[in-house]
């Protein structure tokens, strides 16, 4: 074998190994679970019943008692963002979803997680109880006409004051979206709580609460500036229960339904990890 051929074989092997290692590194933590079955080993009628009881206490608070969604994603639509196999649903429930409010269930026995999977599957077969009646294209116009992009962003376009909506259709049910438009203060995401501070000299600043400890508090104001205050220099700190978003309760019903349809259609394609 000549030296050039050897070098080429070495280079190809090296590249293949590097690629394999890189692929492995990109795999989300906990996704590689050798021995975990593809199909649910706990799906009898009694498992389903046990799964329902587990679900209502552990999951129903966010996903709705019947999977109708809420702060958590809809589970009765038959669409699952992170995979539709029993195994994939198991892993989402077990490991949670990074950068979301979905926690893992690390100390829950596997059998209990499988029973929740069985019940979630049943919910998914029930179909969405509330069909979305609005028109997506018309909803986009409502979004534009009402200046939603002055606070929100979609696919990198828009502002940063409010939550990114690029994937909101996958994360929130129509019911929740409608409530958030009509009554934005009903449920404020943790990262978008508001804060108002008044300095000893009387200057008021308000914005999104970013961080706080016993001595300092930090916010992003309406202009997007990052501000930091020492509490010893403040006269008052208010944590209003109101969202910064104005309510759109007076939005015409058709506009509301169209906007809900448009927001519900916003789903990022799952990356092929």
């Amino acid at each position: 074998m000549n030296i050039y051929l050897m070098r080429r074989i070495f280079l190809i092997t090296y590249c293949l190994m590097s690629w394999a290692l890189a692929m492995q590194a990109q795999r989300p933590a906990g996704q590689s679970r050798p021995g975990l079955p593809e199909t649910n080993p706990y799906s009898t009628t009694s498992d389903l019943d046990a799964g329902r009881k587990l679900y209502v206490g552990r999951c129903g608070h966010c996903h709705g008692k019947n999977g109708e969604g809420g702060r958590g994603a809809t589970l009765n639509s038959g669409r699952f963002r992170y995979g539709t196999s029993d195994r994939e649903i198991f892993l989402v429930i077990r490991n949670g979803i990074p950068n979301t409010e979905m926690p893992g269930t690390f100390s829950t026995p596997e059998a209990e997680v499988w029973r929740i999977v069985a019940y979630v599957r049943q919910l998914s077969r029930q179909g969405a109880p509330e069909p979305v009646t609005g028109d997506t294209a018309a909803g986009l116009l409502v979004y534009q006409k009402n200046g939603c992009a002055s606070c929100h962003s979609i696919d990198g376009k828009g502002a940063i004051l409010g939550p990114d909506l690029s994937d909101i259709g996958a994360k929130r049910a129509a019911l929740y979206l409608r409530q958030s438009i009509m009554e934005p203060s009903a449920d404020i995401p943790l990262d978008y709580r508001t804060v108002e501070v008044i300095s000893i000299t009387g200057k008021t600043s308000s914005g999104i609460h970013l961080n706080e400890d016993e001595y300092s508090i930090h916010m992003r104001n309406m202009k997007g500036d990052l501000l930091s205050f020492m509490k010893s220099e403040l006269k008052e700190i208010k944590l209003p229960r109101d969202s910064l978003m104005p309510d759109y309760a007076s939005l015409p019903k058709d506009d509301l339904e169209n906007l809900v349809a448009y927001l519900g259609s916003l789903r990022q394609t799952r990356r092929a990890e």
Partner: protein, 546 residues
Amino acid sequence: MPEKILRIVSLLGVAVLAMVPPLMGQSPAPRGLPVTYERLLKATEEPGNWLTYGGDYRSHHYSSLKEITVDNVHRLRAKWIYQMHRPKVEATPIVVDGVMYLTRPPSDVIALDAETGRALWTFEYRLAASVYTCCGQVNRGLAILGATLFITTLDAKLIALDARSGRVLWKKDLADPGLNYTATSAPLAIKDKVIAGIAGAEGGIRGFLDAYDAQTGERVWRFWTIPAPGEPGSETWKGDSWKYGGGSTWITGSYDPELNLVYWGTGNPGPDYNGDVRPGDNLYTCSLLALDVDTGKLKWHFQFTPHDTHDWDATQVPVLLDSTFDGRPRKLVVVPSRNGFHYVLDRVTGAFLLAKQYVRQTWAKEIDKKGRPVLNPNQDPTYEGNDLVWPGVDGGNNWMSPSYNPDTKLLYFNAREERRRYFKTDAPEFRPGEAYFGGGGGGGARFRPEESWGRLIAMMPETGEIKWEHRILTPPWAGTLSTAGNLVFSATPSGNFYALDARTGKELWHFNGGDRVFASPITFLSRGKQLVTIPIGDILIAFGLD
């Protein structure tokens, strides 16, 4: 001898001599050993050291050192940092004459030079088995007796180490980790024995407290915290529920040498949140036990939370006080319990003397004259989730060390004000490697900031009267240290280590350590200078005056 050979011999000699200091450096002469039982009895007479988990047998977690005072504490500066690269460090170190003995997760021991923070030796323990743990791979510290250190390991072993080298002297099984037994607490060395607790009530264990011969590692006695059928207290369990009844002993107790009694708290019953399978009081869970240290015989017990369904372990450090109650001298033991009430008991008889609420709580109307809670309705976990309950699953107080200051006569501890959502599930079957919860204390509920905060409380321990308090943004996980310098040290979940005036609560100093604190501060002398240390995140940091 030719000159050339002479030169070679002398060069060789120089080389050999040059090797001597490093060899000596590898085996430093033992300093301050042995730590005899007599020294442990008089631990307060050695304020330059920190000889037991609680600072002394009474668990006062107090130091008579007073180089650092209210007047100069603002000059505290970081002196050194020891990096552990492990999550959730909950350890309280032991310090003996310039050497600090520290544990890091899961079950390692490090001897540090207390002056520089440099490691003298490291004992890295490889877990023999995979272990189910509810709450992280933690370890809270060591005991020392003679020249031997004692550690319990996450895989439920008790190991004796040579304090001079970290070499293993003996290793004993506390229990089978395959059956969800684990161990996280610092042992307590008394006389010629080592008392060691067990953990794993969230995995369906049957709890116990053990005593071992410090020399040989042979077990001297075991007290099962869950009685077997026919034993006193067994009538408080139904069917086989006692077999998985919990009642772990995962925080270090206290000791009264005059009464020859060791006082140790017990954990929750299992399953935690579904009590349907275990009707009854479930003795001796959520209790304080007084055991004869020689025989392990139960002298008395007091149950804080009968038939607990909120995971309110009574694994708080019991503080022993010789004080007056109702105008006459009494030997007292005081416990700010996880259930939200501060308790005062006679430690000779176990008689209930007083209970006083110290955090918001919704589960009990009152504690009656016998010390038994009178329950409010609708406070149990439900299948749908019950979010009306205070305190939270982590309790009004938890395992963190409180501090009693004989100068101010105040007890300092961190209180957790918290509302939580409790839900239950069908009672689980016991399975090795799996949780035995029967529900949970979270479930996605989101509460307002005013429903989740903390206070450092300065309390008259005999009456429960709060003299002053220091508000903390979120419920704390740090212990307290008070000193003769009229200082109280503690830390916040946001990583701030701080000092208050022990008499008034006035804040005097703080330092942002940048990570959460799950540990208690201690203080000691290094080369005659007072240092204060606390683990913050995965580091241990030492402070001294500039």
